[in-house]
Amino acid sequence: MLRTRNLTKVYRTGEVEVHALRGVDLELRPGELVVLLGPSGSGKSTLLNILGGLDTATSGEAWFEDHDLTREDDKELTRYRREHVGFVFQFYNLIPSLTALENVELVTEISTRPMEPARALELVGLRERINHFPAQLSGGEQQRVAIARAIAKQPDVLLCDEPTGALDSETGIIVLEAIENIHRELGTTTVLITHNAIIAEMADRVLVLGDGRVQQERRNESRRPARELSW
């Protein structure tokens, strides 16, 4: 479904060149839950950004089905994000002037085959709080709204960038449960970035990134349920 070949990315800031990716080969299969594990600076966010159509590669290829993401212009990438990708961010990025339900509707209004916004919130266990504004929700609740918002369009791939990074472990686990639940119910291909090795245990497959390369790839024999994790 998503695959890359020899993907590289070089950032130039002034006179400094940063090699964020040094040739990444990767393939994501439909319905997989993949965790990208690595310390900061390992290139995992850069990879996610390219997969999500937010950034362009310096060389190599990145394909979503038959779209070559490295060759598409801004307009095509926008359409790709709009139709195929769901994003969850570390800092939730909800729109403060919209309620939970409205934040979800924001996305369903522009997608081609959305689910009922209320059902999306139900999937993350927020049925009761759909009319609350972000300022009235806890961090974990806000992140679950963000997950509902990401999956309400029924994306082909769900990309989560450190979704628990700003949360304590207890709340983080509730959020991971929500992601797990979605993955089970909808079968959405899910990529989750983290520097927390424990979270990797809930994945089908774990890719360990370091120094801009995939340094290790392993498959979990059995996935551990999120509620059993702790850190």
Partner: protein, 792 residues
């Protein structure tokens, strides 16, 4: 200066300023507009006052004036004996028809005598070229400079004049200006017309002889001792001159040329106190808005500084310095613009108000006042924002601000919201979240629309005046004034001239109108009951028929005399048998110019105890025979003046095109600056507050156009609210201004054409659109990745 040489905080200041340079410039421009307007009007006031004072002093402009029919020269000793009188200058002043070679129309000249030996003691001429007339040279004349320029006459040039019924060939020996004719305006005209009206100075004895005034004079002007009240002298002079056919003495403040000049200065004063205030108030608000946002963004830095031990005063001073820089940018731009506009303005005045020299050397005062006012307004705007920065405890400021609290509006509870998509909800909630800020932004845009309305309203008013005063009320093509009242046969005689289609008589007599203790000097004009040519029109455009007896007076005169229809006024006629009679006021009518009084011409002649007579004739003329008519009119000694309606209308439009249109274009620029400054800042702040939100939406798959809608939408909503508000403010301000500029001589009607509102709205809309588009371009450069990684 090296950046490194500065303290770290000052380096931060410079970088902050550089970062928000667009906004600094936008506020700077609004301040500059206010400062510019203030400097322009203050320096113009200063220049006009200084020039007038110096001119009046240097050329001994008289302080009291009186005109009589004929008074003996020995009376001067008694006039000189009036308390406070320092100088007495007896003169001969008459009007005459002039014939300028190469100019078809008859020209009206004001003949004024000057002594043939030495300069006059009062109202000295500022000779621009040539010399005074010599003793015994009865055909030598000095002519006024604008008149000379209009006809390209110089020393050695020739013109002809009908003096006391005889054609006289005059030789121009000098070109001059006089403090008495700074503003030269012919009788009945609204604007100076240098082609058709000019001042001609001739030797005193020559004019005495020409007008059979040997040993006599018909005009006297007085210089007073310092500290003398001119009004008491006027009263004493009136007593002395009454029996010599005086139409009443008057002080310098009522002298026509001076009155116009002083009135102009007064209007500049009104403007200087009013318009800059709008701009500076908006600048104060913008400063507040930008600074408040900057302080919100820099919360953690402020906390850090406090944690390092920087005191509140240091932090406050840091932000005050930032505001001072913004203020100084605006002040410098404004000074520059103001100096230039003031010079331009004053030079423009010098075309209508003719001075031999122009003192445009603005002192530091005007610049100082403008600078102080704008710094004060900017600092006033900064107070609350700075106070908020210093009030926060360090720990508090280190924490990121919690997401702003939104509430569902009542509208939402009505379940109407399902009709509105989410981006529109973002727009509406954002505008409603900070109602005060939204309101003031709207008000700022509204003010720019209002400024456009009030500046363009002048054009509407003038078009209306021309329409009512010249086009509807004046059906005549030209008016022939007679030297003296003649029997109505004269009108019939004129009607037989070539090209004359119809004639209508008019009789005007100088008079004092009294009601109780109030007295006004005003000519009573007699016209036929139902006028065909020169119609009495009220402001609504209705023709007023004159009743067989009684007065019909303008509302301005009624107001001055405090009378109403049905009341009686005493008319004291100042010529002929000088009858004094009581006459009822039958009706009043509204007019924009002067404070006229009318009577049916037959009734007026009966009141004068005279047979039917006229002293002016209005005519309709066949244009193909106009030239022949002019040639004949110039040959008739009784003709004292010929005025053409079309010439008056043309001059009016020409003058307007030269002045008002230019001012209107200035104001359009200023109003544009205002709208731009407000919207640009509002949009930049919206972008700063919601850049993260908009980037998130981009990541979620919204296109650039869709997120632009949200940014532009908020400004759009505020503009949408601002436009009708601007029209309403414009309407009210224009009304108030019209009232503030009202004088006894003329009133600007309160007329706003629908087009004006349309143009003002379009102007406001274009200025906001331009600034929003400028900000919108930044959306293309939103960093989608950074926004995901950072907390606000």
């Amino acid at each position: 200066m090296k950046l490194q040489a500065l303290r770290p905080l000052d380096r931060k200041l410079l970088r902050d300023l550089w970062h928000i340079r667009g906004q600094v410039l936008a506020i700077g421009l609004v301040i500059a507009s206010g400062v510019g307007l203030l400097v322009m009007s203050l320096t113009a006031i200063e220049a006009l006052e200084e020039t007038a004072t110096a001119y009046y002093e240097r050329y001994q402009f008289a302080e009291v004036f009186a005109r009589v029919k004929r008074a003996p020269e020995h009376l001067s000793a008694r006039i000189a004996a009036i308390d406070g009188v320092q100088y007495v200058q007896m003169r001969v002043v008459r009007s005459a028809v002039l014939d300028i070679p190469g100019f078809e129309e008859p020209v009206l000249g004001q003949l004024v005598s000057v002594p043939e030996h030495g300069e006059p003691i009062l109202n000295r001429l500022a000779l621009r070229e040539g010399r005074y007339p010599r003793l015994g040279a009865t055909d030598e004349a000095v002519i006024s400079e604008p008149f000379a320029e209009a006809h390209r006459l110089g020393p050695g040039g020739r013109l002809r004049a009908i003096i006391n019924g005889h054609w006289r060939e005059l030789q121009v020996v000098g070109i001059a200006l006089s403090p008495e004719y700074v503003y030269t305006i012919g009788p009945g005209a609204l604007m100076p017309d240098d082609l058709r009206y000019g001042v001609v100075w001739m030797g005193h004895e020559a004019l005495q002889a020409a007008f059979d005034l040997d040993g006599a004079f018909n005009d006297v002007t007085l210089g007073l001792l310092r500290g003398t009240d001119p009004e008491t002298v006027v009263d004493r002079l009136d007593e002395l001159l009454d029996r010599y056919g005086s139409v009443g003495a008057y002080a310098r403040k009522d002298q026509l040329s001076n009155w116009f000049l002083m009135n102009e200065i007064q209007q500049l004063r009104t403007m200087s106190s009013f318009l800059p205030t709008i701009f500076l108030a908006v600048a104060a608000f913008l400063t507040n808005m930008v600074l408040a946002r900057l302080i919100t963004v820099e919360r953690s830095e402020i906390g850090l500084l406090k944690a390092f031990g920087y005191g509140n005063a240091r932090i406050a001073w840091h932000y005050v310095k930032l505001v001072l820089v913004i203020g100084v940018v605006g002040i410098l731009l404004g000074w520059f613009a103001g100096y230039w506009l003031g010079l331009y303005n004053t030079t423009m005045y010098a075309e209508f108000y003719r001075f031999p020299f122009l003192l445009y050397r603005p002192g530091p005062g005007s610049f100082g006042i403008a600078a102080a006012a704008s710094l004060a307004s900017a600092l006033l705007g900064a107070i609350t924002a700075v106070r908020r920065a210093t009030a926060l405890p360090p720990a508090e400021v280190m924490r990121p601000p919690s997401p702003p609290m939104f509430r569902r509006s009542r509208l939402a509870r009505l379940r109407l919201t399902h009709l509105i998509d989410q981006p529109t909800r973002i727009v509406l909630r954002q505008a409603g979240r900070w109602p005060l800020r939204s309101f003031v932004t709207s008000a700022g845009i509204a003010m720019s629309v209002a400024v456009l309305v009030i500046s363009m309203q002048w054009l509407d008013a003038i078009t209306h005046i021309v329409d009512v005063y010249f086009l509807q009320a004046q059906g005549q093509d030209l008016t022939v004034g007679l030297v003296e009242a003649r029997s109505s046969d004269a009108a019939r005689g004129l009607s037989r001239l070539p090209g004359v289609l119809s004639v209508e008589p008019m009789r005007a007599v100088p008079a004092k109108l009294r009601a109780g203790p109030r007295e006004e000097r005003e000519a009573v004009r007699g016209l036929p009951a139902h006028q065909q040519l020169h119609r009495v029109y009220d402001a609504e455009g209705r023709a007023v028929d004159l009743p067989p007896a009684g007065l019909v007076i303008s509302t301005m005169l009624a107001q001055l005399l405090e009378v109403r229809p049905g009341d009686e006024v005493t008319i004291e006629v100042l010529e002929g048998r000088r009858p004094v009679v009581r006459v009822p006021v039958v009706a009043t009518f509204e007019t924009y110019i002067g404070s006229p009084a009318y009577m049916e011409i037959g009734a007026l002649n009966r009141l004068m105890q005279e047979p039917p007579s006229v002293n002016a004739v209005h005519m309709r003329v066949d244009p193909t025979e106009q030239a022949a008519l002019f040639r004949r009119l110039k040959q008739i000694p009784q003709v004292g003046a010929v005025t053409l309606r079309s010439a008056a209308v043309d001059t009016f439009h020409e003058t307007m095109a030269k002045t008002i249109l230019i001012y209107v274009s200035f104001f359009i620029v200023f109003a544009g600056t205002l709208a731009f400054g407000v919207t640009y800042n509002a949009a930049r702040i919206a972008l700063s507050e919601r850049g993260r939100e908009l980037a998130t939406l981009r990541v979620l798959g919204f296109s650039r156009r869709e997120i632009s809608y949200i940014l532009v939408g908020e400004i759009g909503v505020l503009t949408f609210l601002a436009l009708p508000l601007g029209v309403a403010c414009g309407y009210l301000l224009a009304r108030w201004l019209v009232h503030a500029f009202e004088t006894e001589l003329y009133r600007v009607p309160f007329i706003v054409a629908p087009d004006t509102y349309g143009w003002a709205l379009l102007g406001g809309f274009l200025a906001t659109t331009a600034s929003v588009l400028l900000v919108r371009r930044r959306l293309d450069r939103l960093d989608l990745i950074a926004v995901l990684k950072t907390r606000e």
